[in-house]
Symmetry: C2
Subunit: 248 residues, 2 copies
DNA sequence: CGTGAGCTTGAGACCCATCAATGTGAGTGG
DNA sequence: CCACTCACATTGATGGGTCTCAAGCTCACG
């Protein structure tokens, strides 16, 4: 039933680019059981500690994953955009180890865990493609560990702005290094392990230096090369280098 | 050919506990093509930026993954012990996004990428089990993002000591909350995003408070409950809760 | 015993957090 | 169309946690 939401095609294209899928695979993905629901901004898709029952694919909008420390501080561990699965891992783990919340209003396709389990057992290429997708997720987590662990505030913020720019462009959601940042400065701060006050100062500084300009939530990268250097950014970890990997 | 190194059994048992394997699956894993080599401490198993050719399974000893920032700072992003794959993701990605180095002398089984690709395509249960293994890796990365992003130094160090204790016990490499920490304080610092000087002070403080005691590289957790609280530690993210997940 | 890597400790500096106040713009209701 | 409100952004002043620099210590090993 290829009357699936158009974003399904986007998701399939991304998977296919890193791990080739046959036409039959693509059709199987298109017709996987799911239900679509519109979800308001700030809604929880997954809650830390609860056993998951379905897997959410973002059809539009943004979401983020986060954890809360015992002190009550929040750390955002990833940001997700249209075409991405936000909690694929939950299909195979007993209990969720973090929460997922929408950043904006979003259209979400909920796929029953069972459907994911079945399609991946009966179709090894789909399993591999989804696996690779989670491996790229991992790579981004590793880079974030480095970002919050070893970079100073200016570098950290510049780095994440570079990452968002490339990921949004790869997803067809931005171009010319200009995009709507769907988060408040406080959320940005929680993603880079700083306070919103300090993020504000850093953004101002990056603006004064002519690396970026801002208008409300819109970010324009005025000088990609310099922002890239300022952010110690190397896009290798995004694994956008789609050289058609695998012969099997 | 079940004349494989005994640690293969350990690895298989761990995989099986989170994602059930048939006897045939286990035999296939035991007889996967590989070559064993003894590697000295400090040797590189993988180098950032290079295309990987094989996948390393640690049979004995310890290894860690790390990245170097443009400033030359090192961030260790994970620690691995006997029975773990250190770079499974490399079998499916074009280029390595980080380096892997041994912490101690180690026996390593090198499995050709091609063998991993083949066994996972022809055997969906093995693919799933390895996938789940990488998902647990991801969960640990997420926790590390939180650790370096939002916890103060004392909490950070206490947290990682708790994590090591549980992981080593689960691997049968420690018991009674006592273990040999296979890293220098500088390496520990690079894992928690601090300096070795500060890690040293924190370790002393934890000792003075009676939470741990140290003798050379040996760590004894004197008061698990209090260290757990000090480290804001909840073992959920380790996904050691082996309730035999899946019917298919 | 000499050597070197790693551990330990102190003093001072600095980056970022905290606290606090004000500014701004979108939405709401009168 | 104008108060009013509320979330978010912005800015300043101050303090603290961690880094940096530097020196001495310990212990395994030759």
């Amino acid at each position: 039933m290829p009357d699936a939401h158009p974003t399904f095609g986007k998701m399939i294209k991304r998977l296919d680019s890193r791990s080739p899928l046959s036409e039959a695979d693509k059709l199987a993905l298109l017709s996987v059981q799911h239900s679509v629901r519109k979800v308001p901004a700030g809604a929880h898709l997954v809650r830390d500690g609860e056993p998951p029952e379905q897997c959410a694919l973002l059809l539009s909008g943004y979401a983020y994953r986060y954890k809360i420390t015992g002190e009550g501080a929040r750390q955002i561990v990833s940001l997700h955009m249209a075409g991405e699965f936000v909690d694929l891992q939950n299909s195979f783990l007993q209990v969720s180890d973090h929460s997922v919340q929408t950043l904006t209003e979003a259209d979400v396709a909920f796929v029953p865990m069972q459907a994911i389990r079945e399609i991946t057992l009966s179709n090894p290429s789909i399993a591999r493609a989804l696996w690779v997708d989670t491996l790229v997720d991992s790579s981004i987590f590793r880079e974030w560990v480095v970002n919050v662990g070893r970079r100073d505030s200016r570098t950290r913020v510049a780095h994440i702005l570079c990452e968002f720019s490339l990921r949004l462009e790869a997803a067809g959601l931005a171009k010319d290094h200009r995009y709507e940042l769907p988060m408040t400065q406080e959320q940005l701060a929680d993603a880079v392990g700083l306070t919103s006050v300090h993020v504000n100062r850093v953004l101002r500084q990056l603006g004064e230096e002519g690396l970026i300009s801002r208008d409300r939530r819109s970010i324009t990268i005025e000088d990609w090369q310099r922002l890239r250097e300022a952010g110690d950014f190397n896009e290798r970890y995004l694994h956008h280098d789609f050289v058609a990997a695998a012969r099997n």
